[in-house]
């Protein structure tokens, strides 16, 4: 497609789309800045006011926590009353384990579907892809029955299994497409060297690292943020996730503005911090067609 000396496609400076200039550029930036403010100001407003005194929250909501306006009373109440550290560990265990299962098992199945021609290959692929479009929540009545038969209600294991089932279809689908692009020669050379098929899988896996990272981020966000399954399968105090804990805690403190703002901020920070760290690979994943 391109000659060897051509720069990578995304670096091509196009004459068809000259860099916006003058009034037009100003207009473009005005709209983008305006929308960026709409997207980010509500979040900032909450975070900023969580560090202020009750009076300052109401009288000067737009000021940052300047000296004299600062109060950490919301955070103090919260650490006394809620077990956010425990909720956080629960969420981390659930999301971490589910993600490990999704990535490993998804990569294995994706590898097999991409690599081997066998009876029913297409049907297995289609079967595993069904779950991309059908929400797992619709099976909740039965999932609760199964979990209670297995005595897994109010355990983190129940959540891990359900989230693994929820995340696998998309993971298999995306990883399979990336595994297809790994050059044949490499695998054939390994086979000639007498490597087993399992060893070849571990050889191929690091080569699709960008796809694995994309799948990881895409499966992590909905698991971390889910309210439905924690509410139904693991509402007990010992197994609450951050999302459920925040929902119930803030619901109780609806008139204690300091605690409400503090717990909201604390619930947002890990997600936004992780997002800032991974946003480049997340957005690259989205924009390089991992989902197409």
């Amino acid at each position: 497609m391109s000659s060897p000396v051509a720069p990578p496609a995304h670096r091509v400076i196009s004459a068809a789309y000259p860099r916006p200039y003058g009034g037009k550029a100003l207009g473009v930036h005005a709209i983008l800045v305006a929308y960026a403010l709409i997207a980010i100001l509500p979040v900032l407003l909450i975070a900023m006011n969580s560090f202020k005194t009750r009076a300052a929250i109401f009288t000067t909501p737009y000021l940052p926590p300047l000296p004299g306006l600062v109060s950490l009373v919301g955070y103090e109440t919260m650490f006394e009353r809620a077990h956010f550290a425990r909720y956080f560990v629960n969420s981390a265990v659930v999301a971490g384990s589910a993600m490990a299962l999704i990535l490993l098992l998804g990569a294995m199945a994706g590898f097999a579907l991409a690599e081997y021609r066998f009876r029913g290959n297409a049907w297995v692929g289609l079967y595993l892809a069904l779950g991309i479009m059908i929400p797992i929540r619709l099976g909740t009545v039965s999932i609760l029955r199964i979990m209670s038969d297995l005595r897994l209600v109010n355990t983190l294991f129940a959540l891990i299994l359900v989230y693994a089932a929820q995340g696998l279809p998309l993971a298999v689908f995306i990883l399979q497409q990336f595994m297809r692009q790994v050059p044949r020669d490499l695998k054939d050379a390994a086979r000639i060297d007498g490597m087993s098929e399992y060893r070849i899988f571990w050889l191929v896996l690091p080569l699709v690292r960008p796809a694995v990272a994309t799948v990881a981020v895409f499966t992590m966000i909905p698991i971390w943020n889910d309210l439905w399954f924690p509410l139904i399968l693991a509402p007990g105090e010992a197994t609450k996730t951050v999302t459920l804990g925040a929902q119930q805690f803030i619901g109780q403190f609806i008139s204690d503005w300091n605690s409400m703002l503090a717990s909201l901020t604390l619930a947002m920070v890990p997600v936004l911090a992780a997002y800032m760290v991974f946003s480049r690979s997340l957005i690259r994943g989205l924009t390089t067609g991992a989902l197409k």
């Binding site: 983008l32 299962l101 099976g139």
Partner: protein, 307 residues
């Protein structure tokens, strides 16, 4: 003896079985088992018996369920319509602006515009509850500053405006998804195509609708179906902001909250797993009614066009 089928080699089974087993046990089986349960009931509180489509008949006609059910369907359609009319056009507009080649600050814009999308519904619900609260007065204060103070209402608390307000909150959160998908498609259009268009005299607005938009039509379909499935499966935001009763006076009740109440019960009404499964069955049919035409009509036609 029948001739044996050629066996699938063991390592293929080892690779596929674990994923297939978890997926089958906790997703596919529950979906079908739930559909089966929707055809059963325990009328006198005795044993479970097959009741055919009786549960579905109760859902659409019985005075205990039908008003809430049809209300939830109607609200869900409004919820979806607002996403299609606001979220996706705004996402397309922002994506078109972002996709101008060599836009300064692109990375910063992308990061900021997508940020609300990674937050949970729970956080988003509370953030907006606080901002729209007459007690804190942020929304009211901003309107007053713009000289529109008289137009402020406690929108989340009024029957007439609560559903639209919640839909817009959901739009605020999820505009990042269509934005990124459209953006990805737009920057994927080969430069020489646009160059050719420019030489032919098509620029700006005309080039966008005449050349780029038709080229990203497959993504328009994808965005529409993702919005549809997401909306008919929504629950968390309404539950967080308005509670399980989806107040005021059920005006924000959608299928997700109706499903939750039917299954678990609320206040005086006892939960009923069979009726819960029936609501899930209807949601399943509604989602299929969107997904199947997408897969078999839209995608095929679009593929033909691409060739």
């Amino acid at each position: 003896m029948r001739p044996r089928l050629r066996r699938v080699p063991l390592h293929i089974i080892v690779f596929i079985l674990p994923a297939a087993a978890i997926y089958t046990a906790f997703m596919i089986y529950p979906l079908f088992d739930s559909l089966r349960l929707s055809l059963h009931g325990n009328p006198e509180g005795g044993g479970v018996v097959f009741v055919g489509l009786q549960n579905y008949a109760r859902l659409v006609a019985d005075s205990l369920y039908a008003p809430r059910f049809w209300g939830a369907v109607r609200h869900n359609l409004i919820f979806f319509a607002i996403h299609m009319l606001v979220q996706n056009p705004v996402g397309l507009l922002l994506a078109a602006l972002l996709s101008a080649r060599r836009l300064p600050g692109l990375a910063v814009y992308r990061t900021l515009l997508f940020a609300p999308t990674v937050l949970s519904f729970v956080i988003v619900g509370f953030i907006w509850q606080l901002i729209l609260s007459p007690l804190w007065g942020i929304a009211g204060g901003l309107l007053r500053a713009a000289g529109l103070g008289a137009h402020f209402r406690p929108w989340l608390g009024l029957e007439g405006s609560a559903l639209v307000t919640l839909s817009l909150i959901s739009v605020w959160q999820f505009v990042g998804i269509p934005l990124m998908l459209f953006h990805a498609a737009l920057i994927g259009i080969p430069d020489d195509l646009l160059e050719a268009a420019r030489v032919d005299g098509a620029t700006g607005w005309r080039a966008f609708w005449g050349i780029e938009f038709p080229l990203i039509l497959p993504v328009v379909g994808l965005v529409a179906i993702l919005t549809y499935v997401g909306n008919f499966n929504a629950f968390d935001l309404i539950y967080t902001a308005q509670g399980a009763l989806a107040g005021p006076n059920f005006s924000t009740d959608i299928l997700g909250t109706f499903f939750y109440r039917t299954f678990f019960g609320f206040q005086l009404q006892l939960g009923n797993p069979f009726m819960g499964a029936t609501v899930a069955g209807v949601m399943f049919l509604l989602i299929l009614a969107g997904v199947l035409p997408y897969l078999f009509v839209w995608q095929r036609r679009i593929e033909v066009h691409e060739l």
